[in-house]
Amino acid sequence: MDPANRRDGVLDVLIDGDRIADVGKNLTADGAEIVNVPAGLIICPGFIDMHVHLREPGQEHKETVATGVASAVAGGFTAVACMPNTKPVNDNAGVTQLILQKAREAGLARVYPIGAVSRGQKGEELADIAELKAAGCVAVTDDGLPVATAILARRALEYTSMFDMPMIEHCEDQSLKGDGVAHEGPVAASLGLRGIPGVAEAITAGRDILLAEMTGGHVHIAHMSAWTTIEAVRQGKSRGVKVTCEVCPHHFSLTDDLLAAPIAYDTNTKMNPPLREARDRDAMIAGIVDGTVDVISTDHAPHHYDEKNVEFDRAPFGIVGLETAISITLDKLVHTGLIGVPRMVELMSVNPAKILRVPGGTLSAGAPADITILAPDLPVTVDKTKLVSKSKNTPYHGWSFKGGVAATIVGGKVVYSNPATGFLQ
């Protein structure tokens, strides 16, 4: 399945070293090792998760680069882009290089660091973005927080346009968010939880889309959750603004009803942006189906058990997502007939590569041999104790899905395979 080349068939993939040499029928090469991929499995260009928190440096009790990439390949991702809200913040080449060094040591998935927009993510002055780019950052963001002011967002969009890199925005008007911990609506009201309205997201998205239009910069709207945000993106796209956007599996598969039942005040239902109402969830699905949404990312946000085993309003925001994203997407979007596998590959491979301007997203000859092999009919039951990630904070514990990962190949090496799918290395 190779939508970038409009290819879909029963074909051989010839890998030479760490590159794809050819794709076609009955390929042969001298001394080639033959790997038989069982019928029913789907060979796709490697999936790229462009929104992951690896927590290193500084919060290694939640996740490290090594455990994060292990989680990524177990979840079918050949590459991840990691957010800069580490301790210290990735706002300089030193931190970027440290992350890349840890990634080289770990092997497994490719790691693309994302730098901070502002020094220390303080929202005051621009970080050294040219230096970050030179060190290997593929985008900038103040994720965890929005770019603090309109003027800083304007300058970041202007400045990043010199480097052909997107500014990724965590959209959230801080004054409207206040000390909210859940989506502002009847569920939060009945639970007595302080609300975060959907428009807190859409207002910042609207601001940045207008600024992208004015400056010609590229803004990428992260983890959309509110129907009003999708609407703002749709309008921006229709005017030709350089705006792209992503949705996380929890925002197209869950609603805030999960905060009340089956486990009231389960802190694994607390993330930012929060789970919202059916109207919002349905708007995410509609945006995925109609093409408004460019990317499915996970916002993989590991937190330690102790940090989550507290009162709801004191727990940190975030859930792990790397190892459940493919199953949720196959089950909730593909098997329901909402989208086909080619669209899923666009959302999780082709488009993230394009937006981050990184190799991948294709099985073209000469492309890196990064491959995700899907097992679309594999029954999967999520067991948090079996997650590879260092953290287990998932709201999907015990959920069953149809579809999973058969194997993950990075640079021609099988870095993960699931024997239950019949895929044998």
Partner: protein, 329 residues
Amino acid sequence: MDVTHTAALPHEAAPPLTALRHKHLLGIADLSAEEIVLVLDTAEAMKEVGQRTIKKVPTLRGRTVINLFFEPSTRTRTSFEIAEKRLSADTLNVAIASSSVVKGETLVDTAMNLEAMSPSMIVLRHASSGACHLLSRICKAAIVNAGDGMHEHPTQALLDAFTIRERKGRLKGLKVAIVGDLLHSRVLRSNVLLLTKLGAEVWVCAPATLIPPGLPQMGVRVTTKVEHAVEGADVIMMLRMQLERMQGGYFPSLREYFTTFGMTEARVKLARPDAIIMHPGPINRGVEIASEVADGSASVILDQVANGVAVRMAVLYLLAGGTDDETVA
């Protein structure tokens, strides 16, 4: 005996209810109308105990009840403590200042340590909504919610209902106007749940900035005109307006709040002549309620306090009823 999730029996087949169907009292949301009436009826008997010379019965003898209060409270904590003592329970108070929390202990660890000493019940007051749910998942002891964040304050709603029923003889069909900070009030939430379950006509009133979403779906009428709320009301229930709400920008000044929403004698005249005035306390004189109203003949504010003891005795008695830890092998 695990009765937490027992479904309601068909009405005609059901014998009169003699116990709550829940191990814990986490909120009014979990109670059926039948269970609420059982608490109120039981509280009648408990009130009689409080009128005796010797105000003590042996019902909870040998049971340990811990009052775990993470927020300052005079009225509620005292009320629970008196209720426990009148039932002969061994009670102790753990207040935040003297607890390990100041040493950085989590709520879960505090609860597990208390649990290790095998209390029968823990009465919890906490600033976080859902704190009682969290405890109920880790403790064998019955958890009684004495107020959790902005979520619920079930014993307050029960004592309010008891007071209304005592004065009016019923709840069904009464117009109850609740005026004040609806957004942050656990008393409001518990009262709306209870009063609608028992068939009262509930009106709520607040500045538009302090109205949470979802109230109409809960079956109440919402208005920002206090006159509409109190017109023809049988019961006027005022909620405390905290100074920090003004500081949070929800309304411009306490003075303006009082002139727009404060319960004055003129506004009380719009209600039925026999209307009663309620307030969960502590009251802010001249902010949400005029002194003439708070201290006037229609005020039942101190009756509420007195009834709190009887209602809490009833709750503790009914929750203890299901357990079987009196036999010593």
